[in-house]
Symmetry: C2
Subunit: 218 residues, 2 copies
């Protein structure tokens, strides 16, 4: 296990056997999740806001309109926390307290930096769009200079991070194993439905493969 992402703040006190500081594991979970939840504190009050993001190597990018409270706070370099969670299943045990959820999550701590260089900004917006739907960027109009200027982008380096994974069957007390109740896992996955064209799309135009076969699996 690569432990360079481990600090006192990302050490896992509860269920340490579920934890990992392995970069590959962290990257895979970050790439599979669709949105993150960003935490930041303003006037002593923490806020947790869902947001799109993109990863390029060891950098995570977030964006927002110039007035976005989240991006404005992050730009100021306040301590932040970026968390993603994949829900993999419901764990049905034989006793109430052993019920659980199978999941894979990543917590990244740090302070973000504003991205001002237009080339890095464009690269970040491409990464965010491609994170949401891989293969889309080249099919659509790229941001204009005005759109780029109206969008704020911040970078959060993955320097202090941990993954936590709960997988597999219920962990029942051995004294409960004889109970005549079904126990196991109901798997869960975020799955796509049939793409819905908007009113201006030519009904004859074919649905792109990345929309027809949309998947978060990485």
């Amino acid at each position: 296990m690569n432990d360079d992402l481990l600090t006192g703040r990302t050490r896992l006190d509860r269920h340490p056997e579920r934890g990992s500081h392995d970069r590959e594991t962290i990257h895979r979970i970050l790439d599979e999740a669709l949105v993150c939840h960003v935490g930041f504190t303003v006037d002593g009050q923490p806020y947790v806001i869902p947001a799109s993001y993109g990863r390029v190597g060891e950098a995570l990018y977030l964006h927002g309109a110039a007035a976005s409270r989240m991006v404005c706070a992050l730009e100021r370099g306040v301590p932040a926390c970026l968390t993603v969670t994949l829900l993999d299943g419901i764990v049905l045990a034989r006793s109430a307290v052993r019920h659980s959820v199978n999941y894979r999550s990543v917590v990244v701590l740090g302070q973000a930096t504003p991205v001002v260089d237009p080339a890095e900004k464009l690269m970040a917006l491409r990464a965010i769009t491609e994170h949401v739907i891989q293969g889309r960027w080249d099919d659509v109009r790229a941001p204009s200079k005005g759109e780029l200027a109206a969008t704020k982008v911040v970078r959060l380096a993955i320097t202090e991070a941990s993954a936590k994974i709960r997988a597999g069957p219920p962990d029942d007390d051995v004294r409960d194993l004889g109970r005549p109740v079904w126990a196991g896992v109901v798997p869960l996955e975020l799955l796509p439905g049939a793409p819905v064209p908007d009113a201006s799309t030519d009904p004859e135009s074919s649905v792109p493969e990345y929309a027809k076969a949309y998947s978060r699996r990485r």
Copy 2:
């Protein structure tokens, strides 16, 4: 619109047309989401942690082992933020910057209170289990006195909250509508797979309906 949940801190500065402070809307989203993300600050650092929860009327319950960093912080009454996000679809526009995600989210701000009364604690654990999988509680062994004592529960009242909803097709600039590219929505939903019994479950025993037909829809 019922505005009593609206404060300066839950006012929506960005896309106010997507916001709501209606209790029914907020309850419906809270009931449909499987996990929440809880934000709290320790030594100036915000943490965002995924957690199960349950709702009883205007109260949200969270639980954890006695050593859980999250529950210990919440017990102390630090300012907290509980956020849930439902992912409903990918919005494919004709320009990069108009891409979006359809979602329904709720943000609840407040300070939690420890639940010490054993009857309320038991009721809270029942609400959390039933939130995760409705119909399960009566089929399994209830918590023992020892299990109850080893579990911490906190209550967060829904007194300051907002919902935010993005739905529907892309919102393209009218000058982009003629572009020959497919645009629309790829719907998303957290869906169950076939239940997987654990090694101690009698293979002849039938899978309960709440596991076979698991759904988050409310």
